[in-house]
């Protein structure tokens, strides 16, 4: 079966190439921005590319557990790499915003306080920081059960990231709502799992 084949392949393919591919992708986008490949306004385009990639990777990370639970697909070993790479894209997103887009620290501060879509994006970032810092074997070992509770912060962080996206668009494009819907479904699936475990 295809699932078994993927599982067998996954046992052979390590997780570190995720970081390599992530860095190459980020670098390639930056290069495109430098050389006109992102159109006449590369700053906003690059900012948006990094933001969407971050959100996509976080959603991918959320899919891992349900995939194992319901499809028997075991990709757990890639989850940390997906999460950490997502964090680096958020960091790149934030850096582009501060350095290339806003270009003024006082205005950065003003935007964080005054513009709700920025406030919630920043809140999401703040939640992701401790997760990124503790994404290493030593932390997992030292923190034990605490680590698992801490990493439940992923859920509010991803949800806030997607609300940030909904908040910043004008009109009613489909894309941000697709992300939001997917995240809500993934949450529901997760809660279902928890409930069944506590019942059983």
């Amino acid at each position: 079966m295809i699932i078994d084949r993927i599982n067998r392949a996954a046992r052979k393919i390590p997780a570190w190439p995720v970081y390599i591919v992530g860095s190459l992708w980020a670098g390639w986008l930056f290069w495109l921005g430098l050389t006109g490949g992102l159109g006449p306004e590369p700053i906003n385009t690059l900012e948006r590319e990094y933001g969407s990639t971050a959100l996509q990777l976080l959603v991918a990370g959320l899919c891992i557990t349900p995939l194992r639970r319901y499809a028997g697909l075991n990709l757990i070993k890639y989850r940390r790499a997906l999460g950490v790479t997502a964090f680096f894209f958020v960091l790149a997103h934030l850096t582009i915003w501060i350095v290339l887009d806003v270009q003024s620290l006082s205005r950065v501060w003003e935007d964080i306080l005054k513009r709700p879509y920025v406030t919630i994006g920043m809140a999401s970032f703040v939640l992701l920081v401790p997760l990124a810092i503790t994404s290493n074997n030593i932390s997992v070992r030292r923190m034990g059960a605490q680590w698992r509770s801490l990493h439940k912060l992923t859920y509010p962080a991803v949800l806030m990231g997607s609300v940030h996206f909904i908040w910043l668009v004008k009109g009613w494009p489909i894309e941000p709502f697709v992300y939001f819907g997917a995240i809500v479904v993934l949450f529901a699936v997760r809660l279902d799992v928890i409930q069944r475990m506590s019942r059983g």
Partner: protein, 295 residues
């Protein structure tokens, strides 16, 4: 009526004025660091045709900046007619030839400032709206002009997806509409208007945020009541009827104090936004009005 506005943004005129402006800024910045100077970022050379045609907001063709360039080729501009109705002497369905024939088409190089805090400089070709209004005859009871964009659902992906309510509508006060700066544009750089720029005919009101400059017009209505405007209908708190470019009125989404010229690449610096987008000659239209309340 044509040629009532002298174009001060020809490339010939701009360079010396720019030097003068920069010199003044150097004097003002004396003592301060030279690094922070806007210098060449403020140059007023028109954007390239490729910039102007590839970075657009035209939600009928999608919400991404590159969507209109990709999708607007479907727009059908053949046999274009504009319905002129309301408080006019000669209402009716006008072909472009009937509406514009014999009027002087001028080149006007205008700054174009989007509410999203980016800007371009565009060399438009068009006629003064005032001349067109005279041709159709405005009744003395009229106070406003309303405009409507074409809706071709089969050709417009954004309309199919209902990203905002359509048809897109906009309006001006009659004195704004009659101001010599206000154009009905039919071309850019001497070439026919590209579909994504609002072919075959669009409004250009350079002292207002870009969304006021409605595209692909199929209807012009003279009225005595303030007409609806699409973004104002969607979110009145964020988009006022006037929507004059005003660096002092902050928008909930974007600070309007500064803007980024399109075409400056990945390291383009920001420049200060000018009141009325630099068109001070319109200030008298708003004498006695509180522009923070009437934003």
């Amino acid at each position: 009526m044509a040629f009532r506005w002298k174009n001060d943004l020809t490339e010939k005129d701009i360079t010396p004025k720019q030097l003068w402006l920069n010199r003044r800024q150097i004097i003002a910045a004396a003592g301060a660091s030279v690094v922070g100077m806007p210098a060449l970022a403020q140059s007023l050379e028109p954007n390239t045709l490729s910039d102007i045609r590839s970075y657009n907001n035209y939600y009928e063709f999608g919400t991404g900046k590159e969507d209109p360039a990709q999708n607007a080729n479907k727009l059908d501009t053949s046999n274009w007619t504009i319905k002129v109705d309301g408080l006019v002497d000669n209402p009716g369905d006008y072909s472009l030839a009937d509406l514009l024939g014999g009027l002087s088409v001028e080149e006007r190089i205008y700054r174009f400032r989007c509410v999203e805090a980016w800007s371009m400089v565009v060399p438009w070709n068009g006629v003064e709206l005032a001349d067109v209004l005279n041709r159709v005859g405005v009744k003395s009871s009229a106070k406003y002009v309303a405009f409507e964009t074409v809706v071709q659902p089969d050709n417009m992906i954004g309309v199919q997806r209902r990203v905002i309510p359509f048809p897109y509508v906009e309006g001006l006060r009659l004195d704004e509409a009659r101001h010599p700066l206000t154009l009905l544009a039919t071309g850019i750089y001497g070439e026919p208007m590209a579909n994504q720029n609002g072919a075959p005919i669009r409004l250009v009101v350079p002292w207002k945020y870009g969304f006021k400059s409605i595209k692909s017009i199929v209807r012009i209505t003279l009225t005595d009541k303030q007409p609806p405007a699409t973004w104002n209908l969607i979110n009145a708190r964020e988009y006022g009827f006037y929507s004059n470019v005003n660096p002092n009125v902050s928008h909930p989404r974007w600070s309007q104090a500064s803007e980024r010229r399109i075409g400056g690449g990945l390291f383009a610096s920001r420049q200060d936004t000018l009141m009325f987008n630099g068109y001070d000659e319109v200030a008298s239209l708003y004498d006695g009005m509180n522009l923070a309340e009437n934003f």
